[in-house]
């Protein structure tokens, strides 16, 4: 159950029915995709609304009936749901349609949206749409000067990209002139080798992610190969695809307000375990007087972890 702490956990939701269990496990908020039927009708799978070109798995809130059910749940549980509209780019004729979809979601009670395309942010701003924007880590905002470009009265939260280090995150937070912003950092799962904001490749049902294509490393001049270890990802191991558990105390002290547990489409059991573990770690962090004391307290968790670290500590 929630610990009533300041550092909040936001968890990826792939199916409405998982919401109550995720909140009971310790999530303070969920984020999820919603793709209405009319989007598929107009643009089919090849123009994703939120970076998931997937038909065969539960990674989205299916349609408006589910969205309304989710909203009723959020009202009862008091833990909001954030909707992702986080494709890296859209076509000019898609902006008005997305604005309509967002307006309809607002009518259904949703106020917070994750946005990664600066063009969509500019469009919504110009159109006077009243929402709270969570600027995605994939908006290619990597420094305070870039943050200033995307500042807007709609801006509610900055989500820092996976590849930022804690000192870099701290630098951005300290430089921010925008009062009252929330700051979110990735904490668990899907730590890609590449930068999502600079990833132009497809993510669909029928092809592996580009980062899973086999590769070799070699000396260009001599052709001499370099031995590499390609890590096996066992979903049974906590944080097997990326974990920042050791960094929670540091993230908390540098000003992070929300921790993201990635997992739209993950197995429910895995997500529940992940949320519970991070909730436990947050509770420990908040009662630890220092980062070293925190690390000592979570030593047993670290011993069984994947060592696939989000942040260098």
């Amino acid at each position: 159950m929630k610990g009533g702490t300041d550092l909040k956990i936001t968890a990826g939701l792939g199916r409405v029915e998982d919401y109550p269990a995720f909140i009971h496990a310790g999530a303070d908020e969920v984020f999820c995709g919603y793709v209405p039927d009319r989007w598929y009708e107009h643009f089919n799978m090849s123009s994703p609304l939120n970076r998931r070109e997937v038909r065969y798995a539960h990674v989205q809130i299916g349609s408006r009936n589910e969205l309304k059910i989710l909203h009723s749940m959020t009202e009862d549980f008091g833990a909001p749901a954030v909707l992702t509209m986080n494709a890296l780019f859209y076509l000019p004729n898609q902006y008005p349609i997305i604005a309509d979809i967002i307006q309809q979601c607002v009518q259904d009670g949703f106020q917070d949206f994750i946005i990664a395309d600066p063009g969509l942010l500019f469009y919504l701003q110009d159109a006077g749409v009243q929402i709270r924007v969570h600027l995605s880590g994939e908006a290619c905002v990597m420094n305070p000067q870039a943050l200033a470009i995307f500042d807007s009265p709609m801006l509610r939260r900055i989500i820092f990209h996976r590849h930022l280090t804690i000192p870099e995150i701290e630098c951005c937070i300290r430089s921010s002139m925008h009062e009252g912003l929330e700051y979110e950092a990735f904490i668990l799962n899907e730590r890609c080798h590449f930068h999502g904001g600079l990833c132009s490749t497809v993510h669909c049902d029928d092809l592996a992610p580009m980062c899973q294509i086999p590769y070799r490393c070699e000396n260009i001049a001599s052709g001499e190969p370099i031995e590499l270890t390609v890590s096996e990802q066992d979903p049974a191991v906590f944080g097997s695809t990326g974990c920042g558990l050791c960094a929670i105390h540091d993230l908390m002290t540098c000003g992070i307000t929300h921790l993201k547990v990635v997992g739209r489409g993950n197995y429910t059991d895995c997500m529940l375990r992940d949320i519970q573990m991070i909730r436990h770690a947050v509770t420990v962090a908040e009662s630890s007087p220092s980062a070293s004391a925190y690390l000592e307290s979570v030593r047993s968790l670290r011993d069984s972890c994947s060592h696939n670290c989000y942040y260098a500590i």
């Binding site: 395309d117 600066p118 870039a146 260009i220």
Partner: protein, 428 residues
């Protein structure tokens, strides 16, 4: 699949929980209950891998019953005997079960092979070396007459400090490798040189080197452009300082190809006369060497044509942009732009994959320091399966456009009327 229940004045969009050839179950919020039972028809959209089919059922053709009442919803079931529905549902169920079986039984490349004709076995076939691969690609370039006869302007990219130093040590307009040995009509049209990296801040040379390179280029009647990569916050000050050292000593209208929004803001605020080209990494689109297997049409219009984009690009002092040849003819931009070829960026890492691999033995490891780099990318690279025509250079992954250096009509189609520069981006 999605079912849209229609009354005279409203629509109720429902996704199914469970589908059979006789009907489906679905959940509705309590406030929809009355409407769903008084609908005049339901339109059911079936989505298959490459098409959509709509089945319209009038209210007389189906029944809806309540299966269960739950705290937040009612679970309903629609049943119909209409043949049209049964056939469409059978096809969808078959598609889903086939996919599910494949996903369970097969590795991803084999699944791709079954569904898309992707040659899975070729994922294990590599060229003998990175340099042999590039030689093979470039030796199969056969420029058509358009490359010699058409009028166009071209540029070269010198991305590594070593290349720029090599350029400085040669007298006259001699370019370093790989350009020196590249025999192609485009080399006769070179009037511009890009100095610096589009992807990595550690490849930006020192201020004096950049100044000397720009001066030499100008002496040789070449137009110098400074290329700038994405920059993380802790490194921003270093790049900012570098710009403050060089821009006051360069012509007022110095052109920069910039791949970082923060740097664009800084340059426009402090050097408003500088010409800012929006770099190729910030012109985002889908770029993937595997696109032919998906049989997707390219987008009909670039994102930047939206009015909201145009106004903000103008506010940031951006007067030109960049595009990349990516094995498909894509619609040209409406503002002046540079067209990069034959390599197109597909992915870039800011925790350099090459450094991680060399330092930790794993491409996904943690680099020892974010602020220092010994530039191993000048000696090492990633090799990918040969049939995919892609290469891992520096901190990025590039596709190789096989038509770009041969077929000028194809390049011309990508240039439209506003491209005023073709940029050649070869790797050593």
């Amino acid at each position: 699949m999605c079912a849209v229940f229609e009354t005279a004045d409203a629509q109720y969009e429902c996704s199914p929980e469970d589908i059979s050839i006789l009907g489906f179950t679905f959940r509705i919020p309590p406030e929809w209950r009355t409407a769903i039972f008084t609908c005049r028809q339901v339109v059911i959209h079936f989505y298959y891998p490459s098409r959509m089919q709509a089945v319209i059922l009038p209210a007389s053709a189906y029944t809806v019953t309540v299966e269960a009442e739950e705290p937040y919803f009612s679970r309903l079931r629609l049943e119909t005997g209409r043949n049209e529905y049964t056939q469409a549902a059978r096809l969808l169920i078959s598609d889903i079960s086939t996919y599910t079986e494949m996903k369970t039984d097969l590795e991803m490349p084999e699944l791709s092979e079954k569904r898309l004709g992707y040659p899975a076995v070729k994922e294990q076939c590599f060229s003998s070396s990175v340099s042999a691969q590039q030689s093979s690609w470039l030796s199969s370039v056969h420029p058509d007459t358009g490359w010699s006869q058409e009028c166009y302007s071209s540029a070269l990219c010198l991305t590594e400090p070593g290349q720029i130093l090599s350029y400085l040590t040669h007298s006259g307009p001699t370019f370093p490798e790989p350009y020196a040995s590249f025999s192609h009509p485009i080399m006769q049209h070179v009037d511009t040189v890009y100095f610096g990296s589009m992807s990595c801040p550690f490849l930006i040379p020192a201020a004096d080197v950049l100044l000397d390179a720009c001066a030499k280029a100008a002496d040789e009647n070449l137009h110098p452009v400074l290329a700038l990569p994405p920059v993380m916050s802790l490194d921003f000050e270093r790049i900012q300082h570098l710009l403050d050292q060089i821009l006051p000593r360069l012509p007022k209208h110095q052109e920069l190809s910039v791949n970082d929004w923060g740097l664009i803001r800084y340059i426009h605020a402090h050097y408003p006369s500088a010409v800012i080209e929006l770099g190729p990494l910030l012109n985002r689109s889908t770029r993937d060497v595997r696109m032919p297997y998906l049989h997707r049409e390219p987008p009909q219009e670039p994102s930047f044509h939206a009015d909201a984009w145009k106004r903000h690009l103008s506010d940031l002092g951006i007067t030109r942009a960049s595009s990349q040849c990516q094995e498909q003819t894509i619609p040209p931009l409406s503002l002046p732009f540079s067209l990069f070829l034959p390599f197109f960026q597909m992915n870039t890492s800011l925790q350099c994959t090459l450094r991680c691999a060399l330092e930790t033995g794993s491409r996904g490891g943690q680099p020892s320091s974010r602020l220092q780099c010994s530039r191993p990318c000048t000696s090492y690279a990633f090799l990918y399966p040969d049939f995919l025509h892609m290469t891992g250079r520096q901190n990025a992954l590039y596709g190789y456009d096989r038509k770009a250096l041969s077929d000028f009509d194809y390049v011309r189609a990508n240039m439209g009327n506003t491209c005023d520069r073709i940029v050649l981006n070869l790797f050593r």
